[in-house]
């Protein structure tokens, strides 16, 4: 009962990790990070149900808030970067390189 949810969550998290590592488009990388956060949320809710405790679901609430804040700031960063470089390829993000 619990294990299948945890395994599914591990699979989703690994796919998210793979996406972050192999893609070059910053927005797709961002979406993969969201997917990893969601995999963690699934773990929280499955364990909350398993243990009969509501705390895990409150934590999911906080994770969602952080994800929303991250979306706002991250996308603003990408727009600012696109204005300077006409690209959001992560290989082009080297402004601070010496």
């Amino acid at each position: 009962m619990l294990e299948k949810y945890l395994i599914l969550s591990a699979i989703l998290f690994s796919i998210g990790t793979l996406g972050v590592l192999i893609r070059r488009n910053a927005i797709v990388i961002f979406m993969c990070v969201e997917m990893m956060l969601n995999a963690v949320n699934l773990t929280f809710i499955a364990l909350s149900k398993h243990l009969g405790n509501i705390d895990g679901q409150v934590f999911v609430f906080f994770v969602m808030t952080v994800a929303a804040a991250e979306a706002a700031v991250g996308l603003a960063l990408m727009i600012a970067f696109f204005k300077n470089r006409e690209s959001i390829d992560v290989e082009d993000i080297n402004v601070m390189k010496l």
Binding site: I15, I27, Q57, A80
Partner: protein, 168 residues
């Protein structure tokens, strides 16, 4: 019955999440990600958490994904030309597989905690209501983190406004 339903929805979730990382066009990735979020909302309903499912659909599939799709449209990004080098793909596949292996290894090595120790059962949720239970927990036990969250949102608003100024 429940296992069959779980298997179908899990297969859809995994397939759509694979599509997220394989599609060349970012818009297709975004739509696949919405599909994944809907599958996760289905799981939340199956896990007796209807309020979290509603929040998942409204906040993730609604607000955050609309923001992402909006930015994709705004920036008019061309489809990606080629992935990173094969070398990087191989190394990252090994790394991702290692993450999966580690999670599964610790999962099967450990002994599971006893089921249903806490006060939250399907009966209680049905009688009191899931939203009310979450509200009670959030405004009593988690009051300080809840207040700190408002600070985080304030900082995010200021950050987004400053970053979108003409000259940074």
């Amino acid at each position: 019955m429940e296992t069959l339903f779980f298997t179908i929805v899990a297969a859809v979730a995994v397939l759509s999440s694979i599509l997220v990382i394989t599609c060349k066009n970012p818009i297709n990735s975004a739509l696949s990600l919405v599909m994944t979020f809907f599958c996760l909302a289905t799981f939340y309903v199956m896990l007796d958490a209807p309020f979290m499912a509603a929040i998942q659909v409204i906040v993730y599939a609604g607000a955050i994904m609309v923001l992402i799709v909006f930015v994709i449209m705004l920036l008019n990004i061309r489809s990606e030309t080629g992935k990173r080098t094969n070398h990087a793909v191989a190394v990252s596949s090994i790394l991702a597989f290692f993450v999966l292996f580690e999670a599964c290894y610790f999962l099967f090595r450990s002994t599971p905690a006893k089921e249903g120790m806490g006060p939250l059962t399907s009966n209680v949720i049905e009688k009191i209501g899931h939203t009310e239970l979450i509200g009670k927990a959030m405004y009593s036990e988690f009051l300080l983190p809840f207040e700190i969250t408002s600070l985080l949102l304030l900082v995010a608003i200021i950050g987004a406004v400053i970053l979108s100024k003409k000259k940074i």
